[in-house]
Amino acid sequence: MGPVSAPDDVLRVEHIAKRFGPVTALRDVNLHLRKGEVLGLLGDNGAGKSTLIKIICGFQKQDSGKMFLHGEPFAPRSVDDARAKGIDTVYQDLALIDELSVYHNLALRREKVHRPIPFLANRQMKQDARRALDEIGINIPRIDVSVARLSGGQRQAIAVARTVNSDADIILLDEPLAAMGAKEGAQILDLVARLKEEGKVSIIMILHNYVHVLEACDRVSMIQDGVIALDKPTAETSVEELTDIVVNEYRRAREETHNAEMAAE
């Protein structure tokens, strides 16, 4: 088995289960995240990776199981609540608002307002947005246009910038490279590497490309059939091993279905 949980875990997830009607998304998930670590979360489509992310970030509630944040019991009431406790997320669907400008999207739920009348401090938010985007090195020419006008990669960069720019110490990235070109993808991976170097944040990242996983992550956890089927430091695994696990699982499942069909006949 892989490494067991240690006292310096910033996040621990114990026996998490979640059903959606007849569908069991997560059966019994145990996961831990060390301080400053980049954890790659793998699994086939529909394995429950996004569900797990959404439970950790407070968007959904688990049916059973517990979570611990810095050793303390952690049961987020909402996204805002989890965020206040230092967990921020880049969702698979990016959670961007098409009708709003780039800088409003970047500031959403962290808006700066004037005093005493709480009007939006747009100029300040624009400056902040410009700085945040420059920091992650992605070029968005105009930040006052609506995000609907941007390319998929640019939108993704904005979502990543929003999260990285928060005060979070745990960052969840749900397929941060999905819509990106090779160059933009490399920029995001560089950014992750830089965050890791700084050592302030711990990251859980869902990725599909195993090469990226081995390049960017310290450790991998693979969800299969609602449980963590593999948990290893990336140094001890390979693209071949990860691929084999998925393919074997696919063959096993197909055989099972086949046998069930034969039995039914």
Binding site: V79, E99, L100, L108, P118, P141
Partner: protein, 378 residues
């Protein structure tokens, strides 16, 4: 070599903004065209132009349109709709609709009347009547945002229920409002005529300040409409409330994921809209000095309020809208109404023309917006 080393350090700032060349080209255009372009680039730009055209048409076609008295008769056909539409915009941006304003329009003055007759001070009665409207809005919001019934159904049910309630309570009979009524009194006025003091009895009419402020003053409704629209637009464009309203209307899931409290945003906009309906009801009742439980009239008013919002550029599908646009939409309806009357159009034809004009105005609106979008993409 030094340049090459410098370049990767600032990848974000090294490229000039793409808008650069385009904006310099625009600046060199003649200023009149720039102004037109700027008006058209506003969401409410197209309806402003359409409204101006209609106003110019009536000014040229009738000799009486551009007069103060005509403006005064125009006001009741305009100001109430502007306030109704302002509230409706907040709900329509969410992609929802509120039909119950037709009911709060009747209910609020009735509650106000009952409380005032029971001896409460008029201002307190008005406040309590508006609180009742807020409860109606809370209920609409609860059923839509939390129970998950479509707002069309929720508020239609609420409309019929409350209109029925108004008929039950009022027995369908109009009553005159106590504080709004014009009271008369006789006073002895001393005169000094041809060296002799004489005293004559004269009748003086009184309109209370309360009534003057709440609808009876000639420009009262106009002032309310302008203030409400101004505040509404400020809230929509420059506050978190407005930002979240657009966020929820544009993409509920994304807004929720970003941490916006979607249900709260929806509920408070329904409260706002229902209260605007009630407030217009009170203004109109005080203006007429009487309370008329006219369900058909309320329904027509409700639909025209929604029409004003839609004409003003607010999308029924949600995500986008302006309060100032709603005001212009209401002005368009008012001018059309007033103009048709001044032109001496047969009363039977008025609704017919009004309906056609709404369709034409919206068609122009959509066309201009499409041209605008196209120019922006290119």
């Amino acid at each position: 070599m030094a340049q090459a080393a410098e370049n990767p350090a600032s990848p974000g700032s090294s490229t000039p903004p793409a808008g650069g060349p385009a904006s310099t080209r625009r600046a060199s255009l003649p200023s009149r065209k720039v102004l037109l372009e700027r008006v058209l680039s506003l969401r409410e730009g197209s309806i402003i132009i359409v409204t101006l055209l209609v106003a110019i048409y009536f000014s040229l076609d009738t000799s009486t349109f551009l007069t103060v008295s005509s403006f005064k008769t125009l006001l009741p056909f305009f100001a109430p709709f502007a306030i109704l539409a302002a509230g409706e915009v907040f709900v329509m941006i969410l992609g929802e609709i509120d039909l119950s304003i037709g009911a709060t329009y009747l209910l609020a003055p009735l509650i106000y009347y009952k409380l005032a007759v029971a001896g409460l001070p008029p201002v307190l009665s008005v406040v309590l009547a508006l609180v009742c409207c807020m409860v109606v809005g809370l209920f609409n919001g609860f059923l839509t945002a939390i129970v998950g019934i479509s707002s069309f159904v929720t508020t239609l049910g609420m409309l019929f229920t409350l209109e029925g309630l108004v008929l039950i309570i009022s027995h369908g009979q109009p009553v005159s409002l106590p504080d709004a009524a014009v009271s008369t009194s006789t006073v002895q006025v001393p005169h000094f005529i041809n060296g002799a003091h004489i005293t004559l009895t004269e009748t003086v009419t009184h309109v209370s300040t309360f009534a003057k402020v709440l609808g009876e003053g000639t420009y009262s409704e106009l002032v309310w409409a302008l203030v409400i629209v101004a505040v509404g637009q400020l809230v929509l464009t420059f506050s978190r409330w407005g930002l979240y309203t657009v966020a929820v209307g544009s993409n509920k899931l994304a807004a929720a994921e970003a941490g916006v409290r979607v249900r709260l945003v929806m509920i408070r906009n329904f409260i706002l809209c229902a209260t605007a309906g009630g407030f217009v009801g009170i203004l109109e009742a005080v203006r007429a000095s009487q309370l008329e439980p006219d369900v058909a009239g309320a329904n027509e008013l409700l639909l025209k309020g929604i029409a004003a919002a839609v004409i003003g550029g607010t999308l029924l599908a949600g995500g986008s809208g302006t309060v100032v646009g709603a005001l212009v939409g209401a002005l368009f309806l008012g001018i059309l109404n007033d103009g048709l009357i001044l032109k001496g159009v047969n009363a039977d034809y008025q609704l017919f023309y009004l309906g056609l004009a709404i369709i034409v105005a919206l068609a122009i609106n959509v066309y201009v917006q499409r041209v605008r979008r196209g120019s922006h993409i290119g």
